[in-house]
Subunit: 461 residues, 2 copies
């Protein structure tokens, strides 16, 4: 018995000791989490930086503005005193909207000269600028209906009038349901001889602001112009078509694709004091659509990521591991920045512990979605009491983010998940401006991300 008895006691002792150490850590981590929250919420420093960035305007890949913003970002990271700041060169697609963009009802008894609120989708071809494209319009509500009516599509503009499905408790599934029309709609319509495509804006907001985004043309199918239409005018057009199915619409678009342009990921880091080769990446995408200022999408995610490092500095926390903030370029229409960083990570001798992405708007924190692996997921889940201090209610398995998904050798990928209810009010539209970002929501997000990075820095994965 004696032999068995002693190790058993020892085991209890050791277990008790480990437990109390864990409790002690949790207590001290909670204290630090609370000061992170307090500092972020009180200073609102990241929010002020976001305001400065948004003054530059939209940051479409390849645009002059995007290069101005990249310069601004590099200078800002340097001024914040990060250990290293550098640009990672990336060639990006370069599409320009240009000045002309109109849709006018031209042949109609009742609705002649009515201008509709439209905006070309990114990547769309333009039209002849003097004549434009003039055609009848056919309203379609689903892929199935397109197939049924394919004989009627020829030489017409296909108007996909598919409402945003608000029935889900979060808003992303509704976007997921409709985004295919934006991406493939032009080619699917052109396959049957359509001359153009109009899509009801994919938005939860009941206004007349077109919401844009990227489209893809299918090889071997003629490329036809494609635009988003505001909700009010989508309803108007639908009603007009009921009264006058023969009305004609004239579309004039100056948009065009230019040769690929030189661009850059902007990277800044704080070197780890104990494990400098273990890297924690945190980032968002720096390009935006050319309507609004891309404030929520995704200036906010970038500036929050930058604020994570700055909060370490403000609170004089020296990271044990290397914390690297990455502003990925070109997420919206090419993901070249994400791909380039992924290649860099694959070739690097560093160990990418994790990469955290913030690209769902600057709303109140809800949770973290952990892509892989299960051990990391369990470990992060065990920090729930600490993460809760910054408003995080859950840690779930799920998708992380487009840009970080290219970092194939990271042990774990994480998506920051804020409340989604209002995201598609702003997404890819002129509504997405700085004044629509709430400072408390933004800063609590910065704090939540900082607490997570701090825990990973201290405890590893």
């Amino acid at each position: 018995m004696k032999k068995l008895f002693i190790p058993f006691l020892l085991l209890i002792f050791l277990a008790g000791n480990t437990f109390s150490q864990k409790e002690k850590n949790e207590k001290s981590y909670i204290t630090i989490a609370d000061s992170i929250v307090k500092t972020a919420m009180t200073d609102q420093k990241g929010y002020a930086i976001l305001g400065d960035l948004c003054k530059i305007g939209p940051r479409l890949s390849g645009s002059e503005n995007s290069l101005k913003a990249i310069e601004w970002a590099m200078a800002k990271m340097i001024s914040l005193g990060f250990d290293s700041v550098w640009l990672q060169p990336v060639m990006v697609p370069h599409w320009e909207r240009g000045k002309t963009e109109s849709a006018v009802i031209v042949s109609s008894n009742k609705f002649k000269n009515k201008k509709l609120a439209i905006a070309a989708f990114g990547g769309s071809v333009g039209t002849d600028l003097s004549k434009g494209i003039t055609a009848k319009v056919i309203e379609i509500h689903s892929w199935a209906e397109l197939t049924t009516k394919k004989q009627e599509v020829k030489d017409k503009i296909v108007f996909f009038n598919v409402p945003f499905d608000n029935s889900f408790p979060t808003s992303f599934p509704a976007y997921g349901k409709n985004v295919g029309y934006r991406v493939q709609g032009a080619s699917e319509a052109a396959k049957h001889g359509a001359k153009g495509m109009i899509l009801r804006s994919i938005t939860s907001k009941n206004d007349n602001v077109p919401h844009v985004g990227v489209l893809h043309y299918t090889d071997s199918i003629p490329q036809v112009p494609a635009v988003a239409i505001g909700i009010t005018d989508a309803d108007f057009l639908s009603n007009a078509l009921k009264k006058e199915p023969e009305l004609k619409l004239q579309l004039k678009l100056s948009c065009k694709t230019l040769p690929e342009a030189q661009s850059y990921n902007v990277i800044g880091e704080m070197k780890g004091t104990e494990f400098p080769d273990q890297v924690i990446v945190i980032g968002g995408h720096f390009d935006s659509w050319d309507k609004g200022d891309g404030a929520h999408d995704d200036a906010a995610g970038c500036v929050q990521s930058m604020e994570v490092l700055d909060l370490f500095k403000r609170l004089q926390i020296k990271p044990k591991r290397t914390i690297r903030c990455v502003f990925f370029i070109n997420e919206e229409n090419g993901s070249r920045g994400g791909i380039a960083y992924g290649e860099f990570a694959a070739a690097s001798k560093e160990k990418h512990l994790t990469a955290i992405e913030s690209d769902r708007g600057a709303f109140t924190p809800q949770g973290f979605a952990v892509d892989k692996d299960s051990a990391s997921f369990l470990k992060i889940g065990s920090w729930k009491n600490i993460l809760e201090r910054a408003g995080i209610s859950w840690v779930k398995q799920g998708g992380s983010g487009v840009d970080v998904s290219y970092i194939k050798n990271a042990k774990c990928l994480i998506g920051y998940v804020p409340d989604s209810q209002r995201y598609f009010d702003y997404h890819h539209s002129a509504n997405d401006i700085f004044t629509e970002v709430n400072p408390r929501e933004f800063e609590l997000g910065s704090a939540a991300m900082t607490v997570l990075v701090f825990l990973i820095d201290r405890e590893g994965l």
Copy 2:
């Protein structure tokens, strides 16, 4: 052994059976919860009703508008087909702002004739309308400073310039820290001979809109006028005082307290089919301040409560217990409606199972705060998987709400807790209008409350 063995098996069998019944219930409840969410989010019917209500304008207790709104509410409940709808008479305080409300710098070299954005606090006395009150201003930052400087206060206007403390992860603690200045500030200043009181608006929003609310005068201390000032002008006044401490301000207010007025709680119910004497109350307060439309505070809470009953009807769910929606009048400056309903509940032979209050704005659902008792708290907590379908992340012990707190004989009191980050951007101000309520956030709140009421209706407490 045999004797022991059989009951043991029976026990396992029974336990297994109960467990599987519980699981079966949970599954069917989740299905119903999902249809509640889907219906609320898709129809946005409550949101449209909120829009109609807000068209009436603000609903200050005793005002003509409040009576119009009460009539509207009764007609609306009848049109929705509730089993009974009635008015519960309540006498309420009647304070009016009137047309004159100004604060102008009158004696100053640099700032003469500068008008400041102010609004009288509810219950404030007015001033002589031709001369007003003209006095020097002393800026005070805390109760402690008021005590230190009490000799300097005489014949001046005390300007409490206490910033909103954004440091907390939720916004209510910041309000809690400052609301005492609004409630007691006038009397505390007048105690030392002050002629008036100005308070920096208690708000998280950085604009120039005054945020009002009720004040209380202490008996035996002279009643002096008291106003809120917009944040921009609070900063302006503070800077002006640094440059010219001797400047004088003229305050003119037409506000006054009239005799108490007849008003009403509006009550509508669906009778329970099995336990009609067991009552589940759900409600908000129907009065509002007279700036904005009281959209978040608390038209939203009332309409959400009404929508709970309407969602039962739309989904053809017959309640087993009686579900009663109460629009409490006069929460803002007297709580007479809450008190009257509490007295009615105390005298009634019905059993009040619970009363749920929605009075924290129409933002994304977060949780339910359960006031008492522990058995109910545990039971509600056990429904987490079901409540989660409507965005509820937690059930905690905590404060329920002002109005339901008067229902002393309820087994359990519950507060609906949405996200708080933006609440004090709107609270008690002209910012609190219908267009600042997001339909998805509002409807998910209606759904969350309906799911909770449904579970209590089916399972009891």
